[in-house]
Amino acid sequence: MAVAPSATLASPRRKRRILLRLVALVVLYGLWEIAARTTRNPTFIPSPGAVWHQLIVTSTVHGGIRGYSGHLLIEHLGVSLRRILIGSAIGVAGGLVLGLIMGTVTWFRVVTEPVVTFVRALPPLAYFSLFIIWFGIDETPKLWLLSIAALPPVAVATAAAVLGAPTGLVEAARALGAGKWQAVRDVVLPHALPEIFTGVRIAVGVAYSSVVAAETINGVPGIGGMVRDAQRYSQTDVVVLGLFAIGLSGLLIDALLQIAEKRLIPWRGRA
């Protein structure tokens, strides 16, 4: 918000932030440990120790068995991350282009908006089998699913932000001789950037949370496939481990996105 202390305070503030987060982490850990001890049912709430143990088991080759389902945790995660990143990238790029055209070309919006709204209401689990039929069981249907999951937030956010472009500044560009598309590139798009970034962050989150759905079929190696497998055998500790792997890597990517956002949008709050 607005009346924030100036930037010179950055260093002590950063220290306080890290401290606060550490405290929060310790508190969460404590709650978990207590919950695990009181329920005493590892299929319900596995103890932190059990999850830690699984981390080691799934990250090593033990007794001739490699990790979990023949792949190390890091391999599962790597494969899924690749899928998420490619899927998100396609979805974000598609959403951006779609949203931009929807926001600027009226007839295109009139025609495509209902289609986009229609499609984004559809549950991936419902149409995934169609993808299998169309694209087989390898990477293609998974990437399609993730792309389609990531596209709508970006498209909706972009279209909305473009439609809300400030009249005054668009006029200023036109007055300087900008053509319609120059005004879009130089005014509408930069103005929409903050909202687009929000859309991208939501989109990546949605892609993340779709990874299990995408990996229901031929999902091993893959963190989603691993979690599903573990689920089937009530290996809750592995499930929780998988959730941690997903959540933490998601945290990392979001942090990167936020850093990029700060760099790219120094004018936030000034427009």
Binding site: E171, A172, A175, L176, G177, A178, D186, H191, R270
Partner: protein, 253 residues
């Protein structure tokens, strides 16, 4: 420069919904003329400039600029009443944008020169919110000056400037418009400024703005010292006449 009329308004009226903002007004601005518009706050001066720039369509009558209905950004530069700087660009970046639209290469030297012309130094790298209000207004002027349009529309461009800076810019604008033969339409609330700059001053009535006074200013456009100009009896006479029209009873209707 062609001798045709740069701007022709015939029976122009503009309403926002049921608020008639301006008109009917008929007015021809010959090419090379420096027309100053004066009038009460809310009488429709900005609306008139927007009509000439092509940002508004008249609800009655016709507007012609260079003989055709005006299209924004084609042939007319417009300095809006608010600076309207792009916050995603630095001060220099704002000017670079204008240069690029005009098909010019935005070199640092060119940008610095334009800023220099409005009395600004060392601000090219600042963000738009890191300069004062008067500085923002001057950046907006520099941005408009980057593009070489035959017609320049200025909406109270010097309102936020101190006396000294203002005079410097007035003198610069007067000289340049006379030398290049650019047509200018300039809005101001300062009677002194109107008479000093204009080759013709039009005073509008309060809303809806109509022409209350249309006064040619009979003073030399070039080769005269500003001090001397202000000392001329014709200057004082015009000032009195415009001032009277502005204070004309019924202005506060």
């Amino acid at each position: 420069m062609s001798s045709a009329d740069a701007v022709v308004l015939s029976g122009v009226e503009h309403s926002y919904g049921d608020v008639t903002a301006v008109g009917p007004i008929s007015l021809s601005v010959p090419s090379g003329e420096f027309l100053v518009l004066v009038g009460a706050s809310g009488c429709g001066k900005s609306t008139l400039l927007r009509l000439i720039a092509g940002f508004e369509q008249p609800t009655a009558g016709t507007v012609l600029a260079a003989g055709v209905p005006p299209v924004p950004g084609r042939g007319a530069g417009l300095v809006f009443q608010q600076p309207r700087l792009f916050p995603w660009r630095t001060v220099g970046g704002n000017i670079a944008m204008a240069l690029r639209y005009a098909g010019q290469t935005p070199t640092t030297a060119r940008i610095e020169a334009l800023l220099e012309r409005v009395g600004l130094q060392d601000v090219a790298k600042r963000r738009t919110w890191q300069i004062s209000g008067g500085q923002q207004q001057r950046v907006a002027i520099a941005r408009a000056l980057a593009v070489d349009n035959p017609l320049l529309l200025l909406d109270e461009p010097f309102a936020a400037l101190d006396a000294l800076t203002r005079e410097r810019l007035q003198e610069d604008l007067r000289r340049v418009s006379a030398e290049t033969g650019r047509t200018c339409v300039f809005v101001t609330h300062s009677v002194d400024e109107a008479v000093f700059l204009g080759s013709r001053v039009v005073v509008l009535t309060p809303r809806p703005g109509r022409i209350a006074l249309d006064l040619p200013i009979d003073l030399p456009r070039t080769g005269i010292d500003p001090e001397e100009l202000r000392g001329r009896p014709a200057f004082a006479a015009a000032r009195t006449q415009v001032g009277a029209a502005v204070r004309h009873p019924g202005v506060f209707a």
